[in-house]
């Protein structure tokens, strides 16, 4: 970009609104305004994902997979062939079934992949936006934010909050400001919606576990409920996951929970255990219920973090404590009312 100042007459020069072409511009501001941090600070260093296994293992994986695939194709071919030998009609029917299976399977896989891409894209967008936010660039974030808004509006009606966002922003706002306004005006509403869903599912699963008579059924219940919740939360953030994709998301959520969750867990554990202890005096089953409810809500909050295009900051990070209180009071009220009923019945019998 030239450094010489130029002054034009407004009549002679053709200009456009600066929003349209926002990202063609080179940015003149280097990364220098960030407050200096010690490099040892945790936010500056990150553990890289572990390098995948040794080369030998990799080759083994590929060869094994291709062996299985070839073998199954060969088997299937032989199977269809033998069916044809028995009867032409039977053979035709079987090959039709195989064809339908292949087509629908491939279709589902591709579709799931496309939707799953949204989540991957969201991840990239989140990293980019965090970068823009930190460097206070100008004119780069608008396109990404618009993209994200479009993805949101395919699942949730955000027209009103989007209108508020448009009113609050001006062409002269920098990216960091735009991102903050977007966070406050648009995302906070989605957060509330997601938290509502998490609360609902957490209490549901807590109640189910507290009331279910069969210990083995608990596991299935939790898996089912949390899977439903992850689906719902991801839908709220405009990246709904199909069965295949959900598996991937669940895996990510679980990994995150293990990696990032440790410190949070330590912070919350004391209080959680206290809550549990209180419940445990009433009933073991109720305590288990609360524990499961908290686990489910932690899963939900992790899902929110994975689906949000903008990272949570200190002020808007959802807190477990509220859900915990809700869970404890709900479960306790049910359990104690049950006990009271029992006592009452006993009292009546005694009479």
């Amino acid at each position: 970009m030239s450094t010489k100042p130029v002054k034009f007459d407004s009549e002679t020069i053709k200009v456009e609104s600066s929003e349209a072409h926002s990202n063609v511009l080179e940015d003149s501001v280097a990364i220098n305004d960030k407050e200096k941090k010690l490099p040892s600070e945790t936010s500056m260093v990150k553990l890289k994902p572990k390098k995948t296994k040794s080369k030998l293992l990799k080759v083994f994986g590929w060869s094994f997979a291709s062996f299985i695939v070839t073998a199954s194709i060969y088997e299937a071919w032989q199977f269809v062939d033998s069916m044809f030998e028995i009867n032409k009609v039977l053979g035709g029917a079987v090959s039709l079934i195989v064809l339908v299976t292949i087509i629908t399977g491939a279709g589902a896989l591709i579709k799931g992949r496309a939707k799953g891409k949204r989540l991957i894209k969201r991840n990239k967008v989140r990293k980019l936006l965090a970068q823009f936010n930190a460097n206070e660039t100008y004119g780069k974030a608008t396109d990404y934010l618009d993209d994200v808004s479009e993805e949101f509006s395919s699942e949730v009606d955000i027209s009103q909050s989007l209108a508020l966002y448009r009113q609050a922003t001006h062409k002269s706002h920098n990216d960091s400001e735009l991102i903050r306004i977007y966070n406050d005006q648009v995302l906070s509403g989605l957060d509330e919606l997601a938290m509502e869903a998490i609360r609902k599912h957490a209490t549901e699963s807590a109640l189910m576990v507290a009331l279910s008579p069969l210990a083995i059924a608990d596991m299935a219940l939790v898996a089912w409920r949390s899977s439903r919740m992850i689906q719902e939360v991801s839908r709220i953030y405009g990246c709904p996951q199909t069965a295949f994709g959900r598996l991937g998301l669940t895996k990510q959520v679980a990994t995150n929970l293990m990696l990032a969750g440790a410190s949070e867990f330590v912070a919350e554990a004391g209080v959680e255990l206290l809550g549990k202890g209180l419940a445990a005096t009433v009933s073991t089953k109720a305590a288990q219920g609360i524990g499961v409810g908290i686990l489910v809500s932690r899963l939900g909050i992790q899902t929110m973090q994975l689906c949000r295009p903008i990272e949570f900051d200190k002020n808007n990070k959802p807190k477990l404590s509220q859900i915990r209180k809700l869970l404890t009071s709900k479960i306790l009220s049910i359990v104690t009312s049950k006990k009271e009923e029992k006592n009452l019945k006993q009292g009546e019998e005694n009479d």
């Binding site: 007459d9 609104s17 009113q167 002269s172 920098n174 903050r180």
Partner: protein, 471 residues
């Protein structure tokens, strides 16, 4: 009679005591907050205060204040201008300034002191305070005064001799040396032992005129001391202004000398003009906003930059009790937040706002450091109180340039301006010489004052100055 009188006085004094006590309590509860706007003349103090009052008054329907958090939470109920207690200070001419803006002129530069108080009613958020009362109010006092007078502040801890030394050292440096060489010749040829009082009077007049010429020159001379010499206010032609800096050898017999008279007048000026002014208006200040016109300096070049840098550093540190600690001893001020802001950010293409901010930070780094060391929270910002331009993109030499579009001040022609790139790293003198800038002054376009004035980042300024008081 005397008893009744005594009783009458007693009642009055009890009443005033109660009033004082209540004020003290309210101060303690932070219901009153005094915001001090510092800035040299032409840095946009009046425009800022006008816009500040305007944004607060029109907050109800305003959608453009997302960074004022209390407002974003819809906790601000109402705000209005209210009468204040210091009845001897003239009221800030808000409506006059507003009508001037409506007619397309920037408000006149301030020639005397004035004050405004805005009372803001808000909903309490704090979960403990909420139990006692659900609504509270915050009174914001804001004072407008000529920026020229501000430069008298560093005078307070100088005596006549050191001031004279400082002055002639300053006078020998560019860009002011050129303007002052006539005066320097005059003073060097002066024989102090034979100077009469009428000589002093005429010399002082000449001195004041020289300073005024410095002020009105376009060379970017900022540190013009004493301030009342350029803008006397109600002191015009009072004998207290009849002095000038003078350096003499120590071994000269001073008795009956004109030097004594000059020193006496200097001390009188310091004690009876400067000190009461700052004691009256700048004690009890809680928050300080310092406005800096960075663009003018960029236009004017290296010498002007250095001059402004030293001027502002002197100002900032004297307000915030740097090493000397003298102001603290005198007035016990309690400034706990300082916002150093570059006004007129709308004159700069938006992609360079950050550069503008960084430039300002670089310029005042050492001063900020000193203030920060005192435990004062220092923030930098680029904002504009009244936005008069629109950002646009122009095609120039097959490149897309981020420009601003508006009416040029003076010619009233609609122009699109690309001012050059603001450096984000401190520059050497030769780099300064190679750099070219052309920041154009813009006029106010047609706008209505029925709704909030268009602004840029006023919400952030409001949040930084008073945001934490909305409990």
């Amino acid at each position: 009679m005397s008893i009744i009188n005594a009783n009458g006085w007693g009642v009055v004094s009890v009443k005033t005591h109660i009033k004082h006590a209540r004020e003290l309590v309210e101060r303690g509860l932070d219901k009153n907050i005094r915001v001090c706007i510092t800035g040299l003349s032409g840095s946009g103090k009046t425009a800022f205060i006008t816009s500040f009052i305007n944004q607060l008054i029109h907050q109800k329907n305003s959608k453009t204040l997302p960074f004022w958090l209390a407002h974003a939470d819809s906790r601000v109920v109402a705000a209005k201008l209210v009468p204040y207690n210091d009845m001897h200070i003239p009221e800030f001419p808000y409506s006059k300034a507003l009508s001037s803006i409506e007619s397309g002129c920037w408000p006149d530069s301030t020639s005397n002191i004035s004050q405004a108080r805005i009372s803001i009613k808000y909903k309490i958020k704090n979960k403990w305070l909420k139990k006692i009362q659900s609504y509270s109010y915050l009174n914001v006092d804001i004072v407008d005064y000529p920026g020229e007078w501000l430069l008298d502040l560093p005078l307070l801890n100088l005596d006549y001799h050191t001031w004279s030394q400082q002055f002639y050292q300053w006078a020998s440096m560019p860009p002011q040396s050129e303007m002052l060489c006539g005066w320097l010749e005059r003073i060097n040829s002066l024989d102090i032992s034979s100077t009469t009082e009428s000589d002093i009077k005429s010399l002082s007049k000449e001195f004041r005129e020289t300073l005024r010429a410095c002020k009105s020159s376009q060379k970017g001379i900022h540190f013009i001391q004493p301030g009342r010499f350029v803008l006397p206010g109600d002191l015009d032609s009072a004998p207290v202004l009849d002095f000038f800096p003078l350096l003499i050898q120590k071994d000269i017999e001073l008795n009956g000398n004109a030097y004594i008279l000059l020193e006496k007048r200097f001390n009188y000026y310091k004690e009876h003009i400067v000190k009461p002014f700052f004691k009256e208006y700048f004690s009890k200040v809680d928050r300080q906003l310092m406005l800096v016109d960075v663009l003018k300096v960029l236009n004017q070049g290296f010498d002007s930059y250095k001059e402004l840098q030293s001027t502002l550093s002197k100002l900032v540190t004297s307000f915030n009790y740097g090493q000397s600690n003298w102001l603290k001893r005198m007035f016990q001020p309690q400034i706990n937040r300082l916002v150093i802001a570059s006004s007129k950010s709308d004159h700069v293409p938006p992609d360079q706002h950050n550069a503008l901010k960084v430039f300002l930070t670089n310029m005042l780094r050492s001063a900020e450091n000193q203030v920060g060391y005192q435990g004062v929270q220092v923030n930098n910002l680029a904002f504009s109180a009244i936005r008069v331009t629109e950002p646009v993109i122009a095609d120039h030499d097959n490149k897309k340039l981020n420009c601003v579009k508006g009416y040029e001040l003076g010619t009233q022609k609609k122009i699109v301006n690309y001012p050059g790139i603001i450096p984000t790293e401190p520059m050497s003198q030769s780099q300064w010489a190679n750099q070219e800038f052309n920041f154009v002054e813009f006029a106010i376009p047609e706008l209505t004052t029925e709704k909030a004035l268009p602004h840029h980042r006023m919400d952030r300024v409001i949040e930084l100055l008073i945001g934490d008081k909305f409990l």
